[in-house]
């Protein structure tokens, strides 16, 4: 019995407004993560959930070095995910509730999960 999957595309300019809308509709943020595919495409997924467990995912295309508005002003806990994405993928967030300035994860290789690093490692 697989759960219903909903992925809604969102752009960086819409993310704050979307987050506020989901907060208004009694959703909460349960996770954010970034992914890089084999074709070097990157996207961030925001997962929201209602108390009745209804779930929705927002999907945003991003690139290394992009600056995205933080949603930690709407969902406080987002700053942890945003610092993680910054440290592992090199996506910047503006206005985070707590900005660790790249020290959230002390990895040996900077932005270790970014596609650019993957290419360099293979060479």
């Amino acid at each position: 019995m697989a759960e219903l999957q909903t992925f809604v595309p969102v752009t960086p300019s819409e993310i704050i407004q979307s987050a506020e809308q989901y907060a208004k509709e009694s959703y909460r943020l349960i996770q954010m993560h970034c992914s890089a595919t084999k074709n070097n495409e990157m996207f961030v997924i925001y997962t929201f959930e209602k108390e009745n467990l209804q779930m929705v995912n927002l999907k945003m295309d991003v690139n290394v070095g992009d600056t995205i508005s933080s949603i930690s002003g709407v969902f406080f806990g987002a700053f942890l995910y945003e610092n993680e994405i910054h440290d592992l993928y090199g996506v910047n967030y503006s206005g985070m509730a707590v900005d660790f300035q790249g020290t959230f994860y002390e990895t040996a290789v900077k932005h270790a999960f970014a596609p650019t690093v993957k290419a360099e490692t293979k060479e």
Binding site: E3, S35, M55, E106
Partner: protein, 359 residues
């Protein structure tokens, strides 16, 4: 206004087996703010999807945590099975439920022991771990392992538990349950337990939900949310309701865990009574394609898995959002207003697993 000082807490601390660091902003003995630091043991396990095929990744994923290793492997397999539209046999669903609930008992008894140790109740700590030992013996008998079991696989499980052994396990659990009930009496009624935990670190219903709390941290504030109610594995066929407490303090979170242990015994009895005979795996053909988000209930709370397949034997991405990661923000909400002496107890009540969190 009192002068503000910053006191470092962790990453090495007697109550924390895990490397969590907090910069505690203090006014005299009161905490007024906290900034967490993790990242001391980041292993980059998710990155290994590029080098391990989707069958091998199960062995990596179950090593994310030594306490909830089985449920990590179950969650990984369920996510991949959903991607590949694989229907596992009914007996497999029940076996996974039984091992999952044994894992919950083992995790909560370990935590209850650590909690007792943290407030100086050494004999209670030892009794909790004595009960837990019976569960580890069951794991060893049924899987061959006490920490890492490697019993789940995409499409089923590697090992069956025969019906005679299941009956014997129930008999062992009846003894463990009676002992757990005695310990529950201590946790619910003992003066020293109440003195250290009641009214400490209160998180309201709304705060807990809005900030993204998970598991007993969420249910201790009265939110009746438990991923098992989604009905994965055999949970849809078992009778249970989320365990909740209203007060939102350390005592409530402790009680939720203790009551969940008792509930887990009952769920295992139900599963053993209903488990059907039959196969324990199906043949897996092809490779995962598409993307899927799944949620399970670990002992520490909701875990979120995301998998993206590309039609080859290697996944593009496998992401794990562990319950401790979700509970770091609630911890920051609970700390302001508490005494410095309460910080270890408070930090412990989210049941922090930083190894899980840093994957």
């Amino acid at each position: 206004m009192a002068e503000r000082t910053i006191i470092p807490f962790g990453p090495q601390h007697p109550v924390l087996p895990e490397p969590l660091h907090l910069d505690l902003i203090m006014e005299d003995e009161k905490v007024v703010g906290a900034v967490p630091s993790i990242g001391f043991v980041h292993r980059g396990l998710e990155k290994l999807v590029e080098k391990r095929d989707f069958h091998e990744m199960m062995y990596v994923i179950e090593r994310i945590c030594g306490i909830c290793s089985f449920i990590h492997s179950q969650g990984y397999c369920q996510t991949i099975e959903s991607l590949m539209n694989i229907q596992v046999p009914d007996r497999t669903r029940y076996l996974r439920t039984i091992w999952g609930e044994l894992s919950r008992i083992h995790s909560h008894m370990l935590w209850l022991g650590l909690m007792a140790d943290a407030f100086g109740f050494e004999s209670l700590f030892m009794h909790c771990w004595r009960v837990r030992e019976k569960i580890l013996d069951i794991f060893e008998e049924t899987t061959g392992g006490r920490v890492i079991f490697s019993v789940c696989k995409v499409g089923g499980v590697w090992k069956d538990i025969d019906n005679d052994t299941l009956k014997r396990i129930v008999n062992v659990l009846k003894v463990a349950e009676a002992e757990t009930k005695e310990l529950a009496g201590v946790f619910f009624k003992d003066y020293s337990v109440q003195k250290r935990t009641k009214g400490v670190g209160v998180l309201t219903y709304k705060e807990a939900f809005d900030i993204g709390a998970a598991g007993p941290t969420l249910r201790g504030s009265g939110v009746p949310q438990d991923m098992r109610t989604l009905g994965y594995a055999a949970y849809g066929e078992l009778d249970f309701a989320p365990v909740t407490e209203k007060d939102g303090d350390c005592f409530a979170r402790t009680n939720v865990r203790m009551r969940e242990v008792l509930q887990s015994y009952d769920l295992i009895y139900q599963a053993v009574a209903k488990i059907p005979d039959g196969e324990i795996d199906v043949k897996v053909k092809g490779f995962p394609t598409g993307e899927f988000v799944s949620r399970l209930e670990q002992p520490r709370g909701q875990v979120v898995y995301y998998a993206k397949g590309n039609g080859t034997k290697y996944l593009d991405r496998f992401r794990v959002r562990t319950p401790t990661f979700a509970n770091l923000a609630p911890l920051l909400k609970m700390l302001p207003g508490c005494d410095l002496a309460d910080v270890p107890i408070l930090a412990l009540t989210i049941d922090p697993c930083i190894s899980c969190t840093e994957r």
